[in-house]
Symmetry: C2
Subunit: 108 residues, 2 copies
């Protein structure tokens, strides 16, 4: 049960600001905290906290270089999310299949 992983994933990506930061890192690649803070509309400490949460969920990694920290996205982490979705759809389809089977048996 990877529920624990996807649990943290959903919780982390639930916040719009945090998700916007992650999206930008996916589009633009590695960025410093300063550059990320720019268009977000929130303060630098707020951005740092969001980056900390994303890192805790394994969605980003950081690399210190002098006095600046570079963050980059780790989209592979989204696998636990798509896995969960696939699993949910699977349960649903299997139910349809068994229903179909039942109807077929009733037909005979």
């Amino acid at each position: 049960m990877t529920t624990a992983a996807s649990d943290l994933m959903f919780k982390t990506l639930g916040d719009p600001t945090r998700r916007a930061i992650f999206e930008r890192l996916c589009r633009e690649g590695e960025l410093t905290v300063w550059k990320i803070t720019g268009p977000t509309g929130v303060s630098q400490p707020a951005v740092s906290k969001h980056l900390g949460a994303l890192k805790l969920a394994g969605l980003v990694k950081d690399r210190r270089e002098g006095r600046e920290t570079h963050y980059s996205a780790q989209p592979q982490a989204l696998a636990s999310l798509t896995d969960w979705a696939r699993q949910m759809t699977g349960f649903w389809e299997r139910r349809l299949d068994s229903l179909e089977g039942l109807l077929n048996r009733m037909d005979q």
Copy 2:
């Protein structure tokens, strides 16, 4: 930009209780509010509110029958989620490709 759809999706599935309800509907199929309330550990009004949120996000549909309401999962709605994930991974890979191309050109 399907950001609006996936925005609501993430927000809705962000709550553990709500996600547990959705998972159960995927596994067990159509259920009444009463049956859903059972193992959740929360009150019936709380469950009703969660079901309302799930319905608003298009993740479940309801069917009234006498004095009881039957809810069932709509896993197709998860498409906007996996689409978003695919898009994010796509941005990332495209960046790797262009980096690779750049390195190749520098090699020559």
